[in-house]
Symmetry: C3
Subunit: 459 residues, 3 copies
Amino acid sequence: MVWNTNLRWRLPVTCLLLQVAMVVLFGVFVRYEADADAHWADSKAQHNTSDLENEFYYRYPSFQDVHVMIFVGFGFLMTFLQRYGYSSVGFNFLLAAFGIQWALLMQGWFHSYHEGYIHVGVENLINADFCVGSVCVAFGAILGKVSPVQLLIMTLFQVTLFSVNEYILLSLLEVKDAGGSMTIHTFGAYFGLTVTWILYRPGLHQSKDRQKAVYHSDLFAMIGTLFLWMYWPSFNSAVSNHGDAQHRAAINTYCSLAACVLTSVALSSALHKKGRLDMVHIQNATLAGGVAVGTAAEMMLMPYGSLIVGFICGIVSTLGFVYLTPFLEARLRIQDTCGIHNLHGIPGIIGAIVGAVTASCATTDVYGINGLALAFGFDGFKTNWNASMQGKFQAAGLFVSLAMALVGGGIVGIILKLPVWGQPADENCFEDSVYWEIPEEPKSTVLHPEDSTLKPSEP
Amino acid sequence: MVWNTNLRWRLPVTCLLLQVAMVVLFGVFVRYEADADAHWADSKAQHNTSDLENEFYYRYPSFQDVHVMIFVGFGFLMTFLQRYGYSSVGFNFLLAAFGIQWALLMQGWFHSYHEGYIHVGVENLINADFCVGSVCVAFGAILGKVSPVQLLIMTLFQVTLFSVNEYILLSLLEVKDAGGSMTIHTFGAYFGLTVTWILYRPGLHQSKDRQKAVYHSDLFAMIGTLFLWMYWPSFNSAVSNHGDAQHRAAINTYCSLAACVLTSVALSSALHKKGRLDMVHIQNATLAGGVAVGTAAEMMLMPYGSLIVGFICGIVSTLGFVYLTPFLEARLRIQDTCGIHNLHGIPGIIGAIVGAVTASCATTDVYGINGLALAFGFDGFKTNWNASMQGKFQAAGLFVSLAMALVGGGIVGIILKLPVWGQPADENCFEDSVYWEIPEEPKSTVLHPEDSTLKPSEP
Amino acid sequence: MVWNTNLRWRLPVTCLLLQVAMVVLFGVFVRYEADADAHWADSKAQHNTSDLENEFYYRYPSFQDVHVMIFVGFGFLMTFLQRYGYSSVGFNFLLAAFGIQWALLMQGWFHSYHEGYIHVGVENLINADFCVGSVCVAFGAILGKVSPVQLLIMTLFQVTLFSVNEYILLSLLEVKDAGGSMTIHTFGAYFGLTVTWILYRPGLHQSKDRQKAVYHSDLFAMIGTLFLWMYWPSFNSAVSNHGDAQHRAAINTYCSLAACVLTSVALSSALHKKGRLDMVHIQNATLAGGVAVGTAAEMMLMPYGSLIVGFICGIVSTLGFVYLTPFLEARLRIQDTCGIHNLHGIPGIIGAIVGAVTASCATTDVYGINGLALAFGFDGFKTNWNASMQGKFQAAGLFVSLAMALVGGGIVGIILKLPVWGQPADENCFEDSVYWEIPEEPKSTVLHPEDSTLKPSEP
């Protein structure tokens, strides 16, 4: 099939339409939260509180770390492909910039809607970034095989479905999922896998040469990996309760990620016939520990519990890259460019299970009386909360997320399959020059630093 | 003309003289602010305040974000040139390291001078970084065409003029400009454009081959772009009032930047005959939204107002790259290497206008009584402040900044034109090897990972 | 000698054994600190304190900056070698991920052990990162010449010795060393130098071609340099006392680093026969100012004092790279890949001396009564503390650190010399393909962006 990949009208019109819609909807619906509104000075005078009690100071540093993860972390992680760096970073930038606006609206309607307005503050910004994180995850599965118009369409739908799913989990099932093992990673991964399954390209082998790294592209990708890895403690603690919960979530994530690195390295070496390490595993599997404590990080998982989770996930994720991804591609026709199933899919499910188990073991012994009530968000004197029920609801949350991802991903995949979005031909996948003006390679590659080639003569 | 580009004595002498001057002036003038002085423990005991009230905790995370923008953001943004990466990052590092010291003094004399001493704290560090930001902007116009000695000279003068201009705006005209649309961007851009106009090189076409990107250099530049984009909310909120103003400034900047990405992409694609995206636009125009809410971000601009500003700036900036920059070069002899006119110049002016309009619409309805007084820095019961007057002063600030930039840039340009600073010849512009020891390309390019080439044999 | 570099069993077994040991030890010993434990809600209710008083908010932003320094800063700083980027970033990642876990235990036993448990909070995370920082320093000396198994073994021992040394300094000698001039840099550098001295390779010249940079690798290294440089104020202030001490430490470090850049550039140019700058100096010597205020940054060093320290260190460090490193290699058989002696060794000693002198000059005039007591950690009404004694103990701390480094490094060097760890042959040093699966260079290097090569035809 011959595709028309000229986006000259499709991409501008899509961007402009979406952005105009955002302006209008923000105009109608979005206002500042009390902590970000200038009236705050009056209310502060009235209640005699300190500037420091502004939510900004509790959350802003974490917000910035999460922001780096979404734009630099995910963006550069995907630059490992030899000829797809512009698109990896650039399309991720584009879809995330649109997605955060739409997420502010969708999540706002569900969670911050009062008296006809959505009231946004720093926590909304974090949640919008989180929501977009799930789109970045899904992008990993279809990386190199779609046009930016398709990505914007997918973002539009996925953010919508994410918000519905999140509302069901957090508000209806009253599930705890501060780091998003279920809402972000499981949902994002299985959504993306379903989309790529529907977009299956039997002729993709024609682009296989470009579906590999080169030396420098792997180093660019490590920028992404490391910023994700380093800031993941902020990711999992960003919207936890003030104080001990944020503190604990950061510690647990730090521990889980550290353990995950060692087992990823161990398996990577053990699975290579000469014991050599594979950059794909170092770039990806080392992060699985962060995914898998997403739900339980703010709970009393204990540092050793976190280490165990990281330990297991490094192994499972690396095994997934070596055995499962080729199997999925060969047998189930799931072409998962970045191996998101190994980094977000399975670890997300593990994270949901760890969360359910940890929640179901919660006692006042471990949490204290106020601590338990705070941690699980119920009134301290309400007697009908019990840990085992919470655990069951947590488990239910996992199944809801999976169902939403599979159904939603199916529908969106079918929409994206329409041959009108400017998608690349099978032989032009993983290639920047389809959508980007690419600089010519310099003719006389590099000037040699011999002085003779330089005019400046010394007197 | 044949230039002597050997800096063996000129650069070391310049650096050492400037640094010795800094040591002496710091010795005479600079002391710690109360919050950073060990006597704080005594005053804390006396006033019974908390450690947390230390200004450090309000501003330090934002400071670090701004710091990253100046050194990594601006430094890497300019690495897009194929053979000028060392100089982009290295010279930016050098001029910024000198500039922040000189700015601490200059701004200190104007704003933090008490009883014979400049008292520095974290806010001074932020402001020094801001001031240097305007030099980094101007550097963008002359990138590749000047020697590091010229850059140090320019920094010396520009920081001085920046501080005078800032003093006129903030202290005499009592203008609000927390994110520096006028003081940093407009001033920096038109200063730099005037300098490059005076340094016009008719023979620059001889280096045109090197004035382009290569594949990898564009990816390095995206590191700069993304760190600027992500941390811009910190930039615009870093020195705002505590509490709601910082919070609001971050939200507005986040919104404006997000909108700007979509319209930049839209225009970039629409203006290419095959609808392809141009990295130059993605690297630069996407940031214009941050510049253009610099003045108004801390005001009650409203999230939709921010989106509109970003929307417009993405369009205007991209159009500028496509049509205005070539026009300026061909007709006005303004050789603007990085296109700072499109990223900082026009968006800076837009930002000043948006700020003036927003300020002139301020009412107690929108801000509350205390809020209005706080936001515009007047006594709440003073009756002679009025919004329309504030708007007029804001507008006056724009014209003062432009005038200072043009006159100052003219004088500094003439100084830099003297043929004694080691500037490169026209045919050696945009070339690192003039000022740097460059590694030879490896002879046998890369070792192939065939085992045969590696000695270690397995027993 | 022919080495077996196949790590298929050695590396996985080492990683898994170490990680299992961590899980078990964490299970037995590690619990949350009060501020990170869910019982905090109860104790908060009891003491009527605010969420903000949680240590998390004082330290977490600094922690994240330090975290970036360890993983991105040190990791990318070492990517300057043309064929050792994977190993630089990847092995640094591996050793740091293991090291932080072991450091949490070792430092915990010495400093946070109560009632049978180590109680970890955010300050422990920072200190663990600090401890690993000293391993990263030592790694710089042996970079390219060891296997990852050797690095893990070295980390195991060095973290242990670091913790003992730190305990002697901080707890027995009651030395102040918040930024670790002695504990981290001096100890790390001389430990690493001793190890590399023992691992001396007479045939290393066979790999000399690879012990150089290429153009792009130097830019990757600048990412490391800049993140280290920018976040060093956080490094030196991260564990200082709340309030003025953290604030002051950040200011002093900022000043010292700025001065250091100018003198490094001056010397780099002055020492080149054509006045050209050398990337090695810009990447390394510019950081020496941060090392050398490590001890004194939180003291009343004064901004001009910091400038003087930075001034001197830029000069000394650059001279070291030009003259001392070749001398050490030729005469003392110390093969110091990254020149850590110039960046961490000498500046560390200078830092210790500056700290001792600054401490011995401390008076209540300069610090205030409470301030002096707080700064040096004694009871304000205790009369037997005196500044000169503190200065002497500071000096003693330097000698203890040096002694520990030399003896410890000697023992560990001998262990690492055993021919069982999979170290590379002399002719395969500085080469990623020994331990990594390396992507083949693309056959048809790059697709030219000619439209003809792309199928999509436009209708």
